[in-house]
C-alpha cells in the first residue's frame, strides 16, 4: 500500500488508551500521526498542507465528532474523516456517511479495517487536493484572459467556427482568429479538446446561450 506523500493522520479521542493505541498502530503501519484529546485542540492547529485523514471519536465531551464534521465542511477543509465509536449508533453513522465520511467504525475495530479506512481517506484526500490544485491553476489561467478573449473562449468551446463567432460577436473573422490564438497561448493549450478540459476544471460555464 503506497502512502500518498506528505500524508498526515490525526487521531482525536478523549480516551487515553484509545489515543495511544491508535498512535502506535498508525506508526507501525508507517503513517505519520498526531493525536489530540479534543476536537477543539485539533481545530487550534493550523491545517496540514498535505493529504490528511482525521480519525475522530463520535462521543466526546465538548465538540463531538459530528460537530467537527460540520465545522470542517463549513470551512471547506479537505481532511477526510474516519469516525470511530464505542456505541455503534446507526442513525449517526448514516448521517456521518451522508455528509461525506470515509468510514464509520465501531470500537474495538480491526487493525486492517482501520488502516484500510485511513488509506482510503488519504487517497481520497490526495485526489481531492490534486483536483483542487488543478482547479486553482485553471482558474488562475482563465483569470489572465481579457473580457473579449473570455467571450471568444466561451464560444470556441461550444465548437463554433471563427466565422460563426465573428458573426455572433459582430466583429471581423480576422480579429476573432487573433483573440483565439491569444486564448490558446495564455491557457497553454494546443487543441480545443485540451481547452475544454481546462475550462471544465476551472468550473466555468461552457456557454451563455442567446
Amino acid at each position: 500500500m503506497r502512502i500518498p506523500p506528505k500524508s498526515l493522520v490525526f487521531a482525536i479521542d478523549d480516551d487515553a488508551s484509545v489515543r495511544k493505541g491508535l498512535a502506535r498502530l498508525l506508526r507501525s503501519a508507517g503513517y505519520k500521526s498526531e493525536i489530540f484529546e479534543s476536537a477543539s485542540d485539533f481545530l487550534a492547529r493550523p491545517p496540514h498542507g498535505g493529504p490528511s485523514c482525521v480519525i475522530v471519536d463520535v462521543q466526546m465531551p465538548g465538540i463531538n465528532g459530528m460537530d467537527l464534521q460540520e465545522t470542517l465542511i463549513q470551512h471547506r477543509r479537505e481532511e477526510q474523516l474516519v469516525f470511530i465509536t464505542g456505541h455503534g449508533d446507526i442513525p449517526m453513522c448514516a448521517q456521518a456517511m451522508k455528509a461525506g465520511a470515509v468510514d464509520f467504525l465501531r470500537k474495538p475495530f480491526r487493525d486492517d479495517e482501520l488502516l484500510q479506512s485511513v488509506q482510503n481517506a488519504l487517497i481520497r484526500s490526495a485526489d481531492q487536493r490534486r483536483r483542487s490544485a488543478e482547479k486553482n491553476e485553471a482558474r488562475r489561467l482563465v483569470d489572465l484572459l481579457t473580457s473579449r478573449e473570455f467571450e471568444v473562449m466561451q464560444l470556441v468551446i461550444t465548437g463554433m467556427l471563427n466565422k460563426q463567432i465573428a458573426g455572433e460577436l459582430g466583429t471581423a473573422e480576422k480579429t476573432v482568429k487573433v483573440h483565439r490564438g491569444r486564448v490558446m497561448q495564455k491557457l497553454r493549450v494546443t487543441s480545443v479538446a485540451e481547452l475544454v478540459g481546462l475550462v471544465q476544471r476551472a468550473c466555468v460555464a461552457p456557454v451563455r446561450k442567446q
Binding site: 491508535l22 498502530l25 506508526r27 507501525s28 462521543q59 463531538n64 475495530f109 480491526r110 487493525d111
Partner: protein
Amino acid sequence: MQYRLRRHDGEYRWISDSGVPRYDAQKNFAGYIGSCMDVTELINKEQALRESEERMSLAADAAGLIMWTWDIRRDEVSLSDKDRAFFGFSPREKLNGDRVRSVVHLEDRQFVRHLVENSLRTREELEAEYRVVLPDGKVRWVTRRGRVEFDGNGEPICERGVLMDITERKQAEEKFRLATEASPSGIILVNDRGHIVLVNSQIEKLFGYQREELVGEPVEILMPERFASQHPDHRAEFVAAPTARAMGAGRELFARRKDGSEFPVEIGLNPIQAPDGILVLAAVVDISARKLAEAEALRRREELGHLSRVAVMGEMATSIAHELNQPLAGIISNASAGQRFIDRGNVDLGELRDLLADIVADGRRAGDVIRGVQSMVKKGAPARQRVNLNDLVMNVVHMVKPNAVHHSCEMETLLDPNLPPIEADPIQLQQVLINLVINAFDAMCNTPLSRRKVVIATEQNGDGGICMSVRDYGTGIPDQARERLFDHFFTTKAKGLGMGLGIVRSIVKSHAGTVAAENVDGGGARFHITLPASAAAL
C-alpha cells in the same frame, strides 16, 4: 360473793369471799369458816376479754367476717344472730354440723367434709375456699379458716374459725382467668421467686405442656439453656425496678417447647403488686410467622433490588459497552501495532515493553468494568464495609460519564475532603447514586444544552452524619408526583418502571438514613440523602 374493798391507800380491790357455816355437835351454828381472795386481776382480765371479744366481733362485722364456734362434743354451732340471718338460720334454731353443712353448695359438700375430717386427723389448721347457697338461692364464695382445739387426751373439743365472703375476689379472679384465656398471647404469671403461678391455654399450645406440668415450676424450664442460666439475674433486676416493658429489648428471644425445639418470641413484662410480693405477668407471642414474613419481605426486597439493578444495567448498556469497547480498542490497536513492528523487523524493545504494559492496563480496566457489572447484577445479601463516599461518588461519575456525554450533560462534584468513612454496602449506595443521576439526566431532556448539569455534593451535616445530594437543572418535581415520588411502581416517565426511587428509599432506609427531594430555586430538583456516620446494622 364478790365485792370491793377500799384499801388503806384508797385503791379499790375486788374480793372474792366465800364462807361455810360451821355447827357444833349440837348442830348449833358456830360461825363461818371461809377465805377472802383478791380477784382484782382476774376480774380485770375477764373484763378485758369480754371487751376484746366485743371488739373482735365488731371488727369481724366491719370486715364482713363470720366468726363461729363448733362445739364438737355436743355438735353445736354458735353463730351470731346477724350471721344466722345471713345463712337463713332462725335466731333460736339449734345448729349442728349437718345443718350448717346444708348451706354448702352441693358440688362442694363432699370436698368440705373431707377437709374437716382431714383437719381433725392431722390437727392442722383448716383452710379452704368453697361455695355456699344463700336463702335467696344466690351462690357466694367463702373462704374458711379454722382451728380445732383438743383436750389433754387428744380428743377434739371444738373448732373455732372465720368465714369470709370472697365472691367479689373470685369474680375478679374469674374475669382475670377468662381474660387471660381469651388473650391471643401466651400468658404466664410468675412470682418473685421465679415460679410459675398461672398459665393460659395459649401457653399450653405454644409450649406443648399441660398447665399442671408448669404451675409451680421455675419459669426457666420454658427457655433454651443458653438463656436460662442468666435469667435469674435478669429477673432480679426486673423485680428491683419493676416497670412494664418488653423483655430483652434489641435481642432476639427464643423459647423452648417441651420437646426441646425452639421458636422465636417476643415477650412483654408487666409487674403486678400482690400482697405477697411482686408477680410478673409475661405475655409471650410466637413470632415465627412474622420472622418468616420478614425474611420473605427481605428476600422480595433483595429480588426487587436485583431487578432494578438489572434494569439500571439495561439503561446503562450503552455505557457499559462503551466502557468495555474503549480498553478493547486500545488492546487491539496496541497488539496489532506490536505485530506490525515485529513483522517489519525493527522492534524497539523499549517501545514494545510500553506497548505491552498498556495492553495489560487496558485488560485490567476491562476486567474492572466487568466486575462492576457483575456486582451490580449479582444477587445476594448486602455486605457492609467501610466506605469512603467520595470515592464512591467518583466511581459513579466515571461509570455514568458515557451517559452524561450521550445526554450532553456536564457533571460537577463538590466533595467534602474531610468526610468520615461510613459503614455501608457500597454496591447498594452506588445503585442509589446511579438511579438518582440517571433520573437527573432524564429530567433534563428539555433543558437547553448549555444548562444541562448534574451536581453531586457530599458534606458532613454537623451531628456526625453525612449528607449526599444530587442536583439537576431539569423540569423539577411536579406537585402531583411529590407524595408518591418514592413509591414502587410510581413513575412519571413514559418508559419508566417506577422502581428507581423506591429502591433508593429502601436502600437508604436499610442504612438508617433518610432521603428527601426538593425543587431548587433556579430550576431543577435536588435529592438529599442523609446517612448516619456509622450506619447501624440492618
